[in-house]
Amino acid sequence: MEGLGIKQRLQETLKSIYFPFVAIVVSLLIGSVVILATSTTSPLTAYGHMLKGAFGNLAAFDATLIKAIPLIFTALSFSLARRSGIINLGAEGQFMMGALAATAVGVATPNLPAIIHLPATLLAGFLGGALVGLLTGVLKVRFGASELIITIMLNYIAKELISFFVNGPLMDSASSSYPQSAPMEPSARLYKFIPGMNVHTGLIIALVFIFLYYFFLWKTTAGFDMRVVGFNPSAGEYAGMNIGRSTIFALFLAGGLAGLGGCIEIIAVQGRLMMTSFIVPYGFTGIAVALLGNLNPLGVLFSGILFGGLSAGALRMEVMTRNVSSSVAVVIQALIILFIAGRQMFAIKKRYRSRSSSGTSAGKTVTDEAKDDDAPLAPATAEEGV
């Protein structure tokens, strides 16, 4: 940033932390009421377990990282689409289809060297999701159909397709009649890479894609076009950009990111595709991660880790307390989504109410951060001042 001193940078950082912090605190407070009302455990104890399970020690952080990886991918998927002016509620289905395509490649060809097999599997995962995104994009652009409903419907269809494949063509014939695929070939798997930790190389891939997300949107012309179109489609059209193509391409990439996440989840964590591989709503949680991260690359990384921690911590909370059910963690997650999306609520509104007679204003308040958001979260109709 030009002309910003250290103090201002610090202020900027504080401002960017303020909203997520307040949102999380308020969510936890309301969550504590739910815990109080429905169990005999003290919320402080429950949250203590949660914190410990998320960041308490290296092993906890390890678990947190593993859970953060798929969320980072679905969050990148939502963020990329959102930056292009599209709301992608389909990361869920794209995630599944990526996993499905990756499984098909990952189990199909034994005796392939990993150097070929692994990239092929990752590519299949990417394409599996990307094609679903592409379909959404084409339907939206060609027929003007709302991507909200299309993506939701495609999520259900993806779920049925998974069910069909693991009960049919991809069913593991060798071991049993279980509705699950054969295990991924060792050559198509990702492994641990830090001694003493369980986190797998998917973490590196996630970091690479966070960088690529940044690089693509801010350093390439295609990404630049996408951001212009996302903020203001008519400006994009005026500037010679092809809105339809940009939309389709954005959904293709967004789908691919989600698909890659699904692929990595299977080849690194679950080992084979099952009916029950997708109980966790990776796609919908990704929305929260993306929003909490303000659609920014580093933001997505940190909020991904936070949500990974929430999930790992919730598990520990459930393990350690007898009667706090995991649904409480779902409630807390939902509350975080609500309060992050509604973070304007916590803005310290100075500039509209100041009745002081001093001529100069106290400079930008936190309100500005919420209003002049860097990300295109502000609705298009927001009237633009005077």
Binding site: E2, G3, A222, A235, A239, G240, S361, D374, E384, V386
Partner: protein
């Protein structure tokens, strides 16, 4: 005459911006009171406070002698205040009568649109305004929409009517009709606040005027009859002597840059918007397209820039057929385009200046190569550009939305002029700008012409049309009615043409 309305010491801040600074304003019953000022002087803000759309930071309002607390338009309407906004507040998808009764407090739970339409029609006839109450607003002309807006206010029995820049979109003849209505309203004892920055109109219709300059009162309650020289008003409004004319030498037209032949365009609703449009623009000349908004200018420009595709006909740029080109291809051919609405098209408010500057040429060298942006070069280029076009901004990393309207337009104009364009299309280049910025941008356009650029300018402002172009085309209902040399143009002649009366040429001086 008694004072009906008094606004005392109104101050309104938007963050660090002070839009109204200790403004006092008083209107007498039964007068037409002009609120005069440049764009951005705070006229609309003040009236929006009066109408309850904004809340003042401090100050009080008295209506009929009583302090009133107007917190929403509902309160204003209760008091008998009506407002016709510059941008019409109508719903195109609804019928005229639905728009009229919308929000009317006398509505019964089940709407009786028939009797409402009867009352509406009687009222319309009284003021000689004919509007079919059952027509969809989307199908009404701009002039009809404005009349509908006035009737909508009158339907609510207002005593005080605020008209915010009512003449901006009207032909001179429609303006005359509007003035008739205003006179009739005053004759019935109603009070009118007339917001404008057009001095002749003020003199024609208003009794007194209050002048705002940069949010402060420059003159309060000045009787119009006392004013002898319009320049005096202009000086009060701008705060300095205004050069009302942009310096310009006669043009030296060169080869044909843009040639449009028999262009027709029919939109998806099946309306024939452009009819056999023919004209050309030569290097080193400015061709102005003059006409009331909504007569096909937008569509014409969109056809030229590839945003729409003509139904038939041909567009040639430097001898190349660009009729079927995409916007990208057209831009490559060398067209600079200052779009009609910079917020909607010309810029991205949430992006910073350097991004806005690279928006149009992002795919081409030196902005980028092989798909990667060259931010370092763009930064240098951006700094040069904001220097050259005196865009006031703290840095090129500032978001465009944080700039004032004038600086935003300078940014867009600067960007388009700095492109290597053979043809510059400038649509309403000075709309919404103060006189200073207007003159600056106009001079930049003239300078581009002098460099040999062909310029096509669209404007609704007669002052601008009379001053800047070398040739003037008048467009009406999708047809080019006339092509006049600048010296052949008169205000009344253009006015008649803009209203679709082709005989207007007879009026031109010999």
């Amino acid at each position: 005459m008694t004072t009906i309305l008094e606004m005392r010491n109104i101050t309104k801040r938007f963050g660090p911006v002070v839009a109204n600074d200790d403004v006092s304003f008083s209107v007498k019953k039964g007068e037409v009171h002009a609120l005069l000022g440049e764009n951005g002087a705070g006229k609309s803000t003040l009236m929006n406070i009066l109408f309850g759309l904004y809340e003042q930071t401090s100050g009080e309002i008295l209506y009929k002698g009583k302090t009133v607390n107007i917190r929403s338009p509902r309160d204003a309407i209760h008091l008998g205040i009506g407002m016709v906004h510059q941008h019409f507040m109508l719903i195109p998808a609804h019928s005229a009568i639905e728009n009229v009764v919308l929000g009317y407090e006398g509505n019964s739970a089940v709407l009786d649109l028939k009797s409402a339409a009867k009352r509406f029609t009687e009222m319309a006839e009284r003021y000689h305004m004919n509007i079919d109450p059952w027509e969809l607003v989307g199908n009404l002309s701009v002039g009809q929409q404005q009349r509908l807006e006035i009737l909508k206010a009158l339907y609510r029995d207002v005593e005080t009517l605020i008209l915010d820049e009512p003449t901006a979109v009207l032909t001179p003849q429609e303006v005359d009709g509007l003035f008739e209505v205003i006179r009739q309203l005053v004759a019935e004892g109603k009070t009118v606040v007339f917001i404008s920055h057009k001095l002749p109109e003020i003199r024609a219709i208003c009794d007194r005027c209050t002048i705002l300059r940069r949010g402060k009162v420059a003159a309060a309650g000045l009787p119009i009859s006392d004013i002898k020289d319009l320049n005096e008003l202009a000086r009060l409004m701008v705060g300095r002597e205004v050069e009302l004319v942009t310096e310009k030498t006669p043009s030296e037209p060169g080869e044909v840059v843009l040639n449009v032949e028999n262009l027709n365009y029919t939109n998806d609703k099946g309306i024939h918007v452009l009819k056999d449009v023919n004209f050309d623009v030569r290097a080193g000349e400015i061709v102005g397209i003059c006409g009331v908004d909504g007569n096909g200018q937008s569509e014409l420009i969109k056809c030229l820039t590839g945003l729409l595709h003509a139904t038939s006909g041909k567009i040639e740029l430097m001898g190349n057929d660009i009729t079927a080109c995409t916007p990208k291809q057209v831009l490559k051919q060398g067209i600079g385009h200052i779009p009609e609405d910079r917020h909607a098209m010309g810029m991205v408010g949430q992006m910073n200046l350097r991004e806005n500057i690279s928006m149009v040429d992002s795919r081409d060298e030196p902005y980028s190569s092989h798909g990667f942006m060259h931010w370092r070069w763009i930064d240098d280029h951006s700094r040069n550009l904001i220097d050259k076009f005196s865009v006031k901004t703290p840095s090129i990393m500032e978001k465009a939305i944080n700039l004032s309207g004038g600086n935003q337009q300078k940014l867009v104009v600067g960007r388009e002029l700095s492109r290597k364009a053979n043809l510059l299309i400038a649509v309403h280049p000075s709309r919404g700008l103060d006189i200073g910025a207007t003159k600056y941008i106009q001079s930049q356009i003239v300078e581009a012409r002098d460099r040999g650029v062909a310029v096509l300018m669209v404007s609704t402002e007669l002052d601008e049309i009379l001053e800047i172009p070398d040739r003037v085309l008048v467009i009406y209902s999708g047809r080019i009615l006339a092509c006049l040399d600048q010296c052949d143009c008169t205000r009344s002649g253009l006015g008649l043409l803009m209203a679709g009366i082709e005989d207007g040429e007879e009026d031109r001086p010999a």
